[in-house]
């Protein structure tokens, strides 16, 4: 997929606009937790699973989730991939290889998708112990949980 082209036959019509979404109480509390180096989930009173990132309802049980739980900052690698491209607004661009993976924090039923650093991808295996690395000065709240590295 090439970028937008400007020619008589294919006039490029860029669309670029911003949305200011409200996060809602659950994600706001999750991001506040990250600032204190805490990963917060919510436990379902039906199935007992702790969901992360936290959400208001358990899809499986259709129950409202009320019980907040502090999860481990260590966890288990579930799966990973090495990216050679990045995608922005649907367009691919070449990137220096980087690793992302699904890491299930201790105590959680679901994994988080996160950057993986400090590890040779060839040495990564599902089930490996990982630990969260924090960046209090990150450019936005989401990146305060900077990445995971092998524990």
């Amino acid at each position: 997929m090439e970028g937008l082209m400007g020619s008589y036959f294919t006039p490029a019509v860029p669309m670029d606009f911003g949305y200011n979404y409200r996060l809602g109480a659950y994600l706001e509390r999750y991001l506040d937790g990250l600032k204190e180096k805490k990963i917060l989930g919510v436990r379902c009173s039906g199935c007992g699973k702790v969901l992360v990132p936290p959400r208001m309802y358990c899809g499986g049980c259709r129950l409202r989730l009320e019980e907040w739980v502090e999860l481990g900052t260590e966890g288990e690698l579930v799966e990973f991939t090495v990216g050679h491209v990045s995608m922005s607004k649907g367009r691919l661009s070449q990137a220096e290889p980087f690793t992302i993976g699904l890491v299930r924090p201790d105590g959680a039923a679901l994994p988080l998708l996160a950057r993986i650093r400090g590890a040779d991808p060839a040495a990564l295996r599902p089930g490996m112990r990982m630990r969260a690395v924090w960046d209090p000065d990150a450019e936005n709240e989401y990146l305060v949980l900077s990445h995971y590295e092998p524990a």
Partner: protein, 381 residues
């Protein structure tokens, strides 16, 4: 389901750049199927469009297509999903009794107009996944590919062979975006990594395409053609929005959709009763994953057999003799094209890709990230 709703005509085209405006493409496709049936737009009771406003770059984009497809002053509705859901919607409208004919038109121009990845990227949660910027259609598929390979004890070489087998099928089809003469896995293996283990040729090619399908009630179908293809059953199912919580090594929603379709069609043993399946395999690992999830093949055996060409034209189950979505993926039209391919096969009109004389066929379409939503239609002659 007995002989209640039939498909009576199809027309489709797809390629990397059809060189047409979307209006001209829609007009040409509809004109094609009307001419095949020897009717005009007044013979059509309702029109159902399948396209995506995001990919068109206009809101309510279907209103600008009503002229080209001949839907003006007619009943027209739109499905903002894969076109196979418009086929199901059309069948339901006829079953409901208010309409005797329905025209489905599905299309997109992702070959050159806009990135095909936009649709999934902008379906992600804007307050979380899009803020992190790590998840997209390709990185999600790569995680699913890894999980599938691991669960079945396969290596990346298998992905190369599976893609080569699919693309070799596409070589016999004159309407694909990408194909390989012979199952040449070295060409696949030398294509660039996108997200490991997925290389460029393990992933669908950006494609332009449109597909028109005419459905009719039993009485009207027999007036329009002497070889109606009957819709025997259909089913759809959607899994959790949060892909990280799903078992990525199979598709629970594909299994559920197929189970519903088979129950409606009175099929108890799909693996022995279905002779042809056309599935929307956007990535090289998906055809065997889907076939196994839907009960068409054994989960352990399916991947190796698929990569060895064991689901070819002469096999008891022919799987994607057209080349499938890996050969051409016109977003929104891909599942409708699978229905059109099944129609051609059941009528013995598939030419170089004809796979014996199937009597019962399955067509599959998907939407969302990592096979989240699946729809299955069973067709018979």
């Amino acid at each position: 389901m007995d002989d209640k709703v039939a498909i009576v005509g199809i027309e489709y085209s797809q390629g990397d750049d059809l060189g047409l405006t979307r209006e001209r493409l829609c007009f040409r496709t509809v004109r094609g199927v009307l001419d095949k049936l020897g009717i005009d737009r007044h013979a059509i009771d309702c029109f159902i469009l399948a396209s995506n406003d995001f990919l068109e770059g206009r809101t309510i984009s279907n209103v600008f297509e009503d002229g080209p497809v001949g839907a003006y002053l007619k009943d027209e509705t739109k499905v903002e999903m894969d076109g196979i859901n418009a086929v199901v919607y059309g069948a339901l409208r006829i079953l409901e009794g208010n309409y005797d004919t329905a025209m489905v038109i599905a299309h997109s121009l992702c070959g050159h107009q806009v990135s095909p990845y936009l649709q999934v990227q902008y379906s992600l949660d804007p307050t979380y996944d899009r803020q992190l910027g790590l998840l997209n259609e390709l990185s999600g598929a790569a995680l699913q590919a890894r999980a599938y390979l691991r669960s079945r004890g396969l290596d990346e070489g298998w992905l190369d062979r599976a893609a080569a087998a699919a693309l070799a099928n596409g070589a016999a089809n004159d309407m694909v975006t990408r194909s390989l003469d012979g199952a040449d896995e070295s060409k696949v293996a030398s294509s660039s990594y996108l997200y490991e283990p997925l290389r460029e040729m393990h992933c669908y090619p950006p494609t332009d395409g449109a597909c028109a399908i005419v459905l009719a009630s039993a009485g009207r179908a027999r007036e329009l053609t002497d070889r109606p293809v009957w819709i025997r059953g259909f089913g759809s199912s959607i899994d959790s929005y949060y892909f990280a919580g799903r078992d990525l090594t199979r598709s629970a929603s594909a299994a559920d959709a197929a189970r519903r379709a088979f129950a409606m069609a009175g099929i108890s043993d799909p693996a022995s009763e279905i002779g042809l399946a056309e599935v929307s395999d956007l990535f090289a690992y998906q055809a065997p994953l889907l076939a196994a999830s839907m009960g068409l093949a054994d989960a352990d055996e399916a991947p190796r057999r698929f990569a060895e060409g064991g689901f070819g034209k002469d096999a008891r189950l022919a799987l994607n003799p057209s080349g499938g979505a890996l050969s051409a993926h016109p977003v929104c039209a891909t599942g409708a094209v699978r229905v059109a391919e099944a129609f051609r096969q059941l009528r013995g009109e598939a030419g170089a890709v004809q796979a014996g004389e199937p009597r019962l066929a399955l067509a599959h379409g998907q939407d969302g990230l990592c096979l989240q939503q699946n729809t299955v239609v069973v067709l018979g002659i």
